[in-house]
């Protein structure tokens, strides 16, 4: 009953006010009282007491975007305190569509104000008097894109960032390199992409591409978390470097194939230190993802130099210790660069007493058992297992991503606070720019609400369905190629082809 379409509905059915907003705000009151809005006099402005004022690029550009999506709105940031880019928390204190038809948004941070796009969704030619108090349930709400198995043009990434912002996701986890290709154009090691990308010119991300993505994301309140996964998943690295990967042996002689990064050579750590020094400065975020998943030990095991190194280090034949040693070295490198490391759960599983990092849980099965173990060890956790959206299940599977309870494990409040959020993973085996968007949306929207909203108010699939269907039409209207949930129609269908 907040946009012109549903207002028409309330005209007919006089249904009680409810919010057609996704993800659902933490708290709101809405009345049947309605006020007209004049689209010709809409404007945005900063409140007099606001700490942020004109010149705050994030809000200035948010005003511009919102205005063009809306056809304008009288919108005022009346109060803004505690602005800090690195502050993950962005509570959004109050939106008050008052009798004078001013939408007043109080937020503690710039990012909270950016996230206050409910206001957009609320406003039509008429508005109901509404008050909203809102803040995110989890501070880390991520989407992983894989640009190694298929190259995603920059335009596709930017479009995904648009859709992420509409869904209040705030972390773009950029799984930028992997076995199949190395599209990141490094200044320090240009051969990594010129030899390791699918194509050295058309299938790479230049420094300027990366800056563009980071800047575009920042204006939408989204952090860019780069992942340079090692020691496994590095085949493509080997094409533009020598002596980085482990030569595999067969029957005592080198077979000509290569395995994971070679953890026995000092040159490996020198290489990694230089690479991560560059990466740390290119990607300003305080987090960095170091991967560490799915390391196949067979190549290491076959190599006599590795075995000698293991003996020297006292690892015996425990290759998990070798991986732990390697990961600890990489974590130390990035710690010295003042970054907080995130690793896939494998690293935690192999070796629990390594230096501090955050753990991303990805394996299927009892993922909450793993979350609990990590939290008990006092480390922060990100949950990804239940949100692997790359596998194209039947469309109505959104409900499967919706009925996930990230904190439903036995633990203390302190342990539960260590679960800082979750992540939707869109791996690239079967996904590129042709099918990314309809495969991601609106299924990722189900995860978005789980990560933002109060679980007790958003646990019913049947109640959520019409609201999500409505939200999906809003995404389509904004040019996002979000697929349908079931039979039906949108007022404005996708016209993109």
């Amino acid at each position: 009953n907040k946009n012109s379409r549903s207002w028409c509905l309330s005209h007919v059915t006089a249904r009680s006010p409810q919010l057609d907003i996704w993800p659902l705000p933490q708290d709101f009151t809405s009345s049947m009282e309605q006020y007209p809005l004049n689209p010709h006099t809409f404007h945005f402005g900063y409140g007099k007491q606001s700490v942020a004022q004109r010149g705050c690029s994030v809000l200035d550009s948010a005003f511009k975007r919102y205005f063009s999506l809306l056809g304008g709105v009288k919108f005022m940031i009346s109060h803004l305190v505690g602005v800090g880019e690195k502050n993950l928390q962005c509570p959004l204190k109050q939106i008050n569509v008052s009798t004078k038809v001013k939408a007043v948004l109080n937020a503690e941070t710039v990012w909270g104000a950016v996230r206050g796009e409910h206001v957009r969704l609320l406003l039509g030619y008429f508005v109901n008097k509404t008050e909203i108090v809102d803040f995110p349930r989890f501070q880390f709400r991520g989407i992983l894109l894989d640009t190694s198995r298929h190259f995603l043009p920059v335009q596709t990434i930017l479009k995904t960032l648009d859709a992420m912002a509409y869904n209040k996701f705030n972390v773009f986890h950029w799984h930028i390199v992997d076995d199949p290709s190395f599209p990141y154009q490094s200044c320090t090691f240009p051969n990594l992409s010129s030899k390791g990308a699918f194509h050295p010119m058309t299938h790479i991300y230049t420094q300027s591409d990366v800056r563009r993505v980071i800047s575009y994301a920042r204006l939408r309140g989204i952090r860019v978390l780069p992942e340079f996964d090692s020691p496994g998943h590095t085949s493509s690295w080997g094409k533009g470097t020598s002596n980085l990967l482990t030569p595999c042996y067969r029957s005592g002689i080198p077979s000509g194939t290569f395995g994971p990064v070679n953890p026995a050579l000092p040159s490996t750590y020198q290489f990694m230190a230089r690479l991560f020094q560059e990466v740390s400065s290119v990607f300003p975020d305080s987090f960095i993802h170091l991967g560490g998943d799915e390391v196949d030990f067979s190549c290491w095991r076959s190599n006599p130099d590795i075995r000698t190194f293991m003996q020297k280090m006292g690892f015996g034949v425990d290759f998990a210790k070798l991986q732990a040693f390697y990961m600890e070295s990489i974590v130390n490198i990035t710690s010295a660069l003042k970054k907080t490391s995130i690793v896939w759960q494998d690293v935690f599983d192999y070796h629990k007493r390594v230096s501090k990092y955050m753990v991303e849980v990805w394996r299927a099965g009892c993922y909450l058992c793993e979350v609990r173990k990590v939290a008990k060890a006092g480390l922060r956790v990100i949950l990804a297992s239940p949100w692997y959206l790359d596998q194209p299940g039947p469309t109505h599977d959104w409900a499967r991503y919706y009925t996930v309870w990230p904190l439903a494990f036995k633990g203390t409040d302190k342990q539960k606070k260590l679960v800082i959020g979750g992540e939707v993973c869109m791996w690239g085996e079967y996904v590129d720019a042709t099918n990314l968007t309809p495969r991601l949306w609106p299924r990722a929207s189900a995860a978005a609400e789980r990560l933002w909203s109060d679980e007790r108010r958003t646990s019913n699939v049947d109640q959520a369905f019409p609201r999500l269907q409505d939200f999906r039409c809003k995404l389509v209207r904004r040019g996002i190629q979000a697929e349908p949930l079931y039979i039906g129609h949108c007022k404005h269908e996708f016209q993109g082809v």
Copy 2:
């Protein structure tokens, strides 16, 4: 080794010539001999002895399309006999890329010449000397689109027709109306769409839209086969007509809900006669699809007037006989309009001695048992069961659609000839313009090759894979949002978003 990209490969690997063409031609010889082609002097022309000459709209427009896709080619229709629009067979006798670098295409019909787009695929800056003899294995190679469960904008249908032509599909089965909506704007009964469409203005196909689709399809050698499914699947019809649907009863009184078309009223057949008279003239094709699937008998059973009618007709309580009576009446209406009727297998299953029609087999299970039964009864068959592509299985499922053997049933040659082809069905429960194209392509291409090419040369999935991967990149290059088969890249990625 026929386009510039793979020519580069042959340069390096000197691999033996083979055709990167999908669907694979029936017969071809290719040598390593290569000739340069000058893109600036390419042109198309009719051969002197050709029956078709300038002014043949189908070929004139095909030349124009091919030229812009190619950057031009010296291409000559040297001989053309037996032109006939209603002739389903379109053998393509010979393409001869001669030493004088003229591509000579001999075809018996205009449609054969249109289908000769191999020539396009063969030509790059260099061509290998190649001879092709080609013709389709099956005369009916269809794709069903469902515009009732979701409305597909005309632009989306046209784009699909482009992709169909690239894949040598020649029938667009337009499942235009069904339970959820009635988007066909009828001149005779305008209320059907003004009341029964999702929206009376934005979600309808006007007469001009329909003409545009038919004309666009015709120029690409594609027939438009309309389906007006009855007596079931007609809920939306009831909104704009009265007394057409059967009132359902509960505890002896009308419940307010409606069931299938009411077969007991003479007015029903008067309505259908007028509707099909219009449809027959709007859609010029000689085939018409009458549906007849999934009729739920419970509403008929509940209705005392229907039961009285059954007694009068001597049907007892056998509702299959009632359906057969109804379908026979509709088939008689369309026969009088000189149309050949196609029905879903249900009609054949209920009643085998009805007037002549073609049968479309759609049910899962032993579909070849059904094909055999229909062929034994002397009726023509179209096979759809194994090609229900609307369910979004994992992408690599193309192999599942590829490994289908439509004639692998016990039967005489004459019976096998009754299997005139097959059809890919893209039902609309979970599909609209946002996800239609990547869900359809390249999975439908697997069916396309099965329906066009020699089964003995195209039964190996591993051999087909690289050729299909290459063809998928060609589709993407031509602007078709075809999804990837697996990890990898195209020289020109999709840039559409």
